[in-house]
Symmetry: C2
Subunit: 469 residues, 2 copies
């Protein structure tokens, strides 16, 4: 964010004018092929010399943002409102759209696009009874604001939880409560990223994270993730040559692929982060959703120098409706994060924090988790059975909520989606998860939301549909 003032202060006048024109074009004030205000008018508006506006328009014309028509005036170029560029593996974009949420907004009977847990798999009745107790414990919880950093009692108990379960050494001062993992990613991006900054990002990855980083003007550098993890030589080369500000990763039961980065790579990655001063942003929402053995420790567990920010949103499968997420990092980074949170919403509601605190600390949660893992594994196996019948390819994940599936032959995800959505079957086209906008023959299928009957039915219809293409 501060880059904004920085930019404002450090730029020559004509550049400030051209940026202002660009901003307003991108805000939709002027659309493609609109006539732009005359030099005279803008000079008056900005109280600058006409030559300054002339210079600004010239730059915009050179950049192809604006074109001149019959010498009479300046017009908005068609491509200047949204453009995409690829340059030695570095991707940038104007994209502000949250395509994923667009897809989620489409109603579908066979809901394979939402990586959400079927509410019927959550202990709703117990939760409700439970919450009532919470209100008796904190009669004034509705009348009081939380602190910006988050409820002390919750942060205390989380720091214990992390040291017991994940061997993370954390004080409650090193935890910030946010409203969901997405807010955490957004706050970190606002603090860390400005134009010219580069970000390492997995390919494929969580598409909303790309939207957030691009909105900051950052350049994305894809790092391929495979069932074996990353190519660490490639990661080191990218860190050395591009000096990225951060590496946004989801190394455990990765979204969308379900892959898990092995422990030995985690140690090395932390060393690389220290050596190249690249912040590792470890997004870890699916840790407890494993099918056979527990996943390796978080990268944060190997970090001694404060180069890992750990985003732990396990409320996702406890009570997603609460939107409780905990971010762990060291000072002074935490200080900045708290400041960003205080401007964003001044703190997550106390109510949600107290409910979550007392629920997740209950023995009931562990019983619930064990049951949930089995239920999700059954879901996964139903989906895999149908995929196998149809001869589609995927790598069986050790956890998480999704399958990353290669479509047979030359079927494209777009073609399949166009047809499937008309039959009320939704999924996520791989292209949306790909920083390079490719992966057109891959799709993400979430097995967590639809119930078993709908899963089988929907998968049979989807695979049948593909044969008609």
């Amino acid at each position: 964010m501060k880059k904004a003032t920085g930019v404002e202060q450090s730029q020559p006048l004509f550049r400030q004018v051209s940026d202002n024109i660009l901003n307003r074009m991108e805000r939709g004030e002027w659309r493609a092929h609109d006539k732009l205000p005359s030099i005279r008018l803008l000079a008056e508006e900005f109280k600058v010399h006409r030559l300054t506006v002339f210079k600004a328009y010239r730059v915009l014309t050179e950049d192809g943002k604006v074109y001149v028509k019959d010498k009479s005036g300046y017009y908005v170029s068609a491509d200047s409102v949204s453009s995409e560029e690829v340059e030695d593996g570095v991707v940038s974009s104007y994209s502000l759209s949250n395509q994923l949420s667009d897809i989620h907004r489409m109603p579908a009977k066979y809901q394979f696009s939402q990586a959400l847990i079927d509410p019927n798999l959550l202990p709703n009745i117990y939760l409700s009874d439970y919450v009532k107790k919470v209100f008796d414990m904190y009669p004034k919880v509705m009348g009081t604001y939380a602190t910006v950093q988050g409820d002390d009692e919750l942060r205390e108990s989380l720091s214990q939880h992390y040291s017991e379960h994940h061997r993370l050494q954390l004080s409650s001062e090193e935890l910030l409560i946010t409203s969901g993992a997405q807010q955490a990613i957004n706050l970190i991006a606002q603090m860390m990223l400005g134009p010219m900054d580069t970000v390492l990002i997995e390919r494929p990855t969580y598409s909303v994270a790309m939207d957030i980083f691009r909105r900051q003007g950052a350049r994305l550098i894809p790092v391929q993730i495979t069932p074996e993890g990353y190519d660490l030589d490639e990661v080191e080369t990218l860190m050395r040559t591009h000096k990225p500000r951060m590496f946004y990763m989801n190394p455990t039961h990765h979204n969308p692929t379900g892959y898990t980065v092995p422990a030995w790579q985690r140690k090395v990655l932390v060393e690389l982060a220290e050596r190249y001063h690249c912040l590792l942003v470890e997004d870890d929402p699916f840790r407890d959703i494993y099918f056979d053995e527990e996943p390796p420790l978080p990268l944060f567990a190997y970090d001694t120098e404060g180069w890992v920010v750990y985003i732990s949103s396990f409320s996702k499968y406890v009570a997603p409706g609460l939107r409780i997420c905990a971010v762990a990092c060291r000072y002074p980074f935490m200080e900045q994060l708290i400041k960003a949170k205080s401007l964003a919403d001044n703190g997550t509601p106390q109510l949600n924090q107290k409910i979550f605190l007392h629920y997740y600390t209950s023995p009931r949660l562990q019983r619930h988790l064990a049951k949930l893992r089995i239920a999700l594994q059954v879901h996964k196996e139903i989906m895999e059975e149908e995929l196998a019948k149809a001869g589609w390819e995927w790598t069986a994940p050790k956890g998480g909520l999704n399958l990353w599936v290669k479509l047979p032959g030359d079927i494209t995800a777009e073609a399949l989606f166009r047809k499937s959505i008309t039959q009320s079957i939704s999924f996520v086209p791989g292209e949306i998860c790909d920083p390079l906008g490719e992966s057109n023959s891959w799709i993400r299928l979430s097995f967590s939301f639809a119930n078993e009957a709908l899963l089988r039915e929907g998968m049979q219809q989807l695979t049948a549909l593909s044969r008609t293409l």
Copy 2:
């Protein structure tokens, strides 16, 4: 936000490099008087020609952000991390600090700085019993996400509420639910404001709003607010000459002064907004906290062209802990707002929306409000009695939670605050509320949080303290 990408795309290389250096200075990577990397190193980092880095450093040196020492290298200037400029009434700043929340963090027995309602004035027991019913009505509320725009049922009922109570013609599609008014202001600022953009803002005003606008790089233009409202000729001149993107206002029981802009001015302001294409951002949290007669209608009620965004956070005195706020505006602006919300946190928790819905629609709320108004009026009168005894000056507000008080003689707010905080008395120094950083002899006293006994006691101690200065 998009300005970032805009900047990235449209800037010459050396400018991108200098911005990047500035960003990193402002992020604290390099602090005042730190030696900056050599031209050679940066040229390697950015993969640009050394002359480009040289040019970048030269610009930064000219701008005083960087200085050269014994030809050996470049160093960060002391003032380049934070600076303030005033130029024909236009204020800009690097300030990112949320000073208000710093003050609120200070513990105080006599809490006159928080414009919050004493939790004991809220019907906590009733609320708790009430909430339990809500969980029976929506057993799965903890397991489901809300839509980005907000719960349909809540938006439907709010649109009815506004048309019945405030004569606002609104469809539920024209309402967005946010987590508190501050998030709403932040989302609007991120959509609307970039460098070179100007914002009209009341003087004095809500300090966090200034922090948010400045973070976007916007320039603030103060508009004096008095017990009679604004000087509309001045407002029109400012709109004509500065073409501000928006006017952020709190025209009803204004924070911090308690003043209310009269109805006739509201009509004119909407006309001015239409004529000069200046968005009016009407922040209206204190509408229902009036002491004798109801306040005039919101500006939004007079708007036919979509130039008013209405922020209604009446959850403040219903159940502040829920952090429920409703933003009303027309399309296509609403479309952009929803997109910003979807990236920020993907929607406000369903739970909080359902609880709020059923509570505020209950007849109990109206009874509660009537009682609350009387209680707050009593609080106000206690504070006013003590001010009168001490001969301090203020204008009795018709509503709200604060008194805006002129300190006697040449006492400064800072001097008084330094002393009072040692005696556990807190208030808000006027300077924090002033876009020009003046108003040193004014303070904001909130009468809503401390109980009657503490109010009298604390005010007697505060006025006594002032005599020792």
